[in-house]
Amino acid sequence: MTNVILQQITKRFQTVTALKDVSFAIEDGEFFVLLGPTGAGKTTTLRVIAGLEHQDEGHVLFDDEVIDYVTPADRDIAFVFQQYSLYPTMTVYDNLAFPLRSPLRKTPEEEVRTRVTEAAEKLRISHLLERKTARLSGGEMQRVSIGRAIVREPRVFLMDEPLSNLDAKLRESLRVELQHLQKTQGSTTLFVTHDQVEALTMADRIAVLNEGKIVQLGSPDDIYDRPENMFVAELVGTPGINLLNSSKENGSLYVENSPVKLAVDYPTDKLPAQFVLGVRPEDVNPDPDGDFEGEVALIEPLGVETILHIRSGEQTILSTVSGITHWNIGDSVRFDIVQEHLHFFDKASQARIPVKRLLAEA
């Protein structure tokens, strides 16, 4: 497989700048996810790598070699799209064999058989090989599309929201299959999605894209634990992070319009007087001896966990607890907030205020 490097890519469509100075490197064998809302530039990035769009500035490199003027066909890339483009009248076997039989490759039939059988096993579709693709379910069709991409061992896989059209259960199971396949094959993969769950669960690294720019690049842990700004903080995690307008006075932190007051045990001198406090719902813990008081305003039992909406003063703070709980709406509840995981953001720029650095300086 191959590494992929984007160097300062800018792409304009008439007056719109779709990508602004985008740089990143996908390592050999890495599962790299581009995450962002609609219109962020994810698909454009993918098309530039494929050679389907040509960048206005910057370079694309495969294995440290500039390929700006290499045609899409010669880049040796395999695609998987949201819409599966299979040949409906052909069997699954022939669909899988198709890329190998193309006049460009002319693989001997014996090798075709070996590769198709292998791909089918990996994707657990061996029992479907003789079936016409028109008679498959959506999930089976997407497995065949992925199978068709893996039979020919390309340099790079590009996947554009391949799971978006599937229902929730199928999406879950294919996510697991894709991760397993990618890791055991060691294939270099760029996966584009707007779904933060897909990004967190599958990626080695995530590039968060917004308005044509990379706003953060890091491991799923980095993105979740150390969001660079409020946009990223809100983008990942379900239920979303609590973002609370807060202020500082005499070393204590006050959440506005609520009795929540945090006496943190680290220096806060670099925090401005007003800031936004970020608290993930799993860091808000109901506890009979908790420091804060509130009232249960709403309960959403999801099964594995329950979301409690805790009304504290004028603020509603979300908390997740394990299992289905016995809380009732209107119950008064005491709770604690885990201080080690607090996030601080600048109110104006929305950028992260790095508290670790504050600590190091103390």
Binding site: D167, A168, Q179, H180, D195
Partner: protein, 361 residues
């Protein structure tokens, strides 16, 4: 607000039995979701309650009124659809006021009532705007306001959040539930999204293949599914279901894994199973705990970070089944690593592999 009662209601379209005879009583003020995959009959069920679809057999009561053959407009029910059917040429205010105008209410009464719902939904700033200028979420709020303004006997909602993006759907989900708590309006809510059903409902009616599979609270359908369909459909991922065979106090799950169930299950296992001893063991991902001395063993197939926790997918040793184990945030394991685990006996369930029904204590 009224109860809704269905007695042996069924629907046949030509050769298709879309809803098989079904009894269901929805209590006054209750929030009930009809949950199931597409084609299970949930929307047809809702449409029969509304009168938009006639019944093939059975009766429907709204409170003590027999409404089976009444027209939709005579049933006093409000409907909210997935696609907000707002009038594009009218302002938000006019859209909301429309049902009251149509009923010939006085302007003062209309203004007062619109004012109440506007306050409740916090949409005052939208009143002058045309629907075309509003976001999807705000349009759905206006559609809700229009349904609320009439104070109907019951609300019927057909996937009202289906067209919204995930983030917004979560917020609207909480809003609708809060609204329901304020109004205590009898509500029937159709969805294919089990998370939505769990989060919102007092009771869930799980449907599949035109038949009700289970009626219960979120905790009942989650912890005690009545059959394999419900066990799989509820939860993300669904319940782990592993085939096994019971003999002499232990359930053999694969060639390499056996599980000795504690005493409290032994009576059930000894007496409740089919003669073959074949059984399906079900457990939720959080019922499995990774432990170095665990009885069960497998190999990590994939590992997913969800933010607050990690979900491990483990291929059982000597078998082909992948089980899902919820592990804590730092409980990561490389793909291919061997892990051992135990089950929380309180959270294990058993199913008959032939009938697919739960075997209960």
């Amino acid at each position: 607000m009224a109860t809704i009662e269905r007695r042996q209601v069924e629907k046949v379209f030509g050769e298709v039995h879309a809803v098989k005879p079904m009894d269901l009583t929805i209590n006054s003020g209750e929030f009930v979701t009809l949950l199931g995959p597409s084609g299970c009959g949930k929307t047809t069920t809702l449409r029969m309650i509304s009168g938009l679809e006639s019944v093939t057999g059975g009766q429907i009561y709204l409170g003590d009124r027999h409404v089976t053959w009444l027209a939709p407009s005579e049933r006093d029910i409000a409907f909210v659809f997935q696609f907000f059917a707002l009038y594009p040429h009218m302002s938000a205010y006019e859209n909301i006021a429309f049902p009251l105008k149509a009923e010939g209410e006085s302007q003062a009464a209309i203004d007062q009532r619109v004012d109440e719902v506007v306050e409740m939904l916090q949409i005052r700033h939208l009143l002058g705007m045309r629907p075309g200028k509003l976001s999807g979420g705000d349009q759905q709020r206006i559609a809700l306001a229009r349904a609320l303004v009439r104070r109907p006997e019951a609300f019927l909602m057909d996937e009202p959040l289906g067209a919204l993006d995930a983030d917004f759907r979560e917020r609207m989900r909480a809003e609708i539930k809060r609204l329901h708590l304020d109004q205590e309006a009898t509500t029937v809510y159709v969805t294919h999204d089990q998370i939505e059903a769990m989060a919102m409902a007092d009771r869930i009616v799980v449907m599949s293949d035109a038949v009700v599979q289970q009626v219960g609270t979120p905790a009942e359908v989650y912890y005690d599914p009545s059959n394999l369909f419900v066990a799989r459909f509820i939860g993300s991922p669904g319940m782990n279901l592993v085939s096994g065979n019971y003999r002499d106090g232990a359930v053999k799950l694969t060639e390499e894994s056996s599980y000795n169930f504690p005493a409290e299950w032994q009576t059930l296992l000894a007496t409740g199973l089919p003669d073959s001893g074949n059984v399906i063991v079900g457990f939720r991902p959080e019922a499995a705990q990774i432990k170095s001395e665990g009885q069960l063993v497998g190999e990590v197939y994939a590992s997913e970070l969800y933010g607050a926790y990690t979900m491990l997918h483990v291929m059982m040793a000597g078998g082909e089944e992948i089980v899902h184990i919820r592990s804590d945030r730092l409980g990561r394991h490389d793909i291919g690593a061997t892990v051992r685990f135990d089950l929380d006996p309180e959270m294990v369930r058993f199913f008959d592999p032939t009938t697919e029904m739960a075997i209960r204590r």
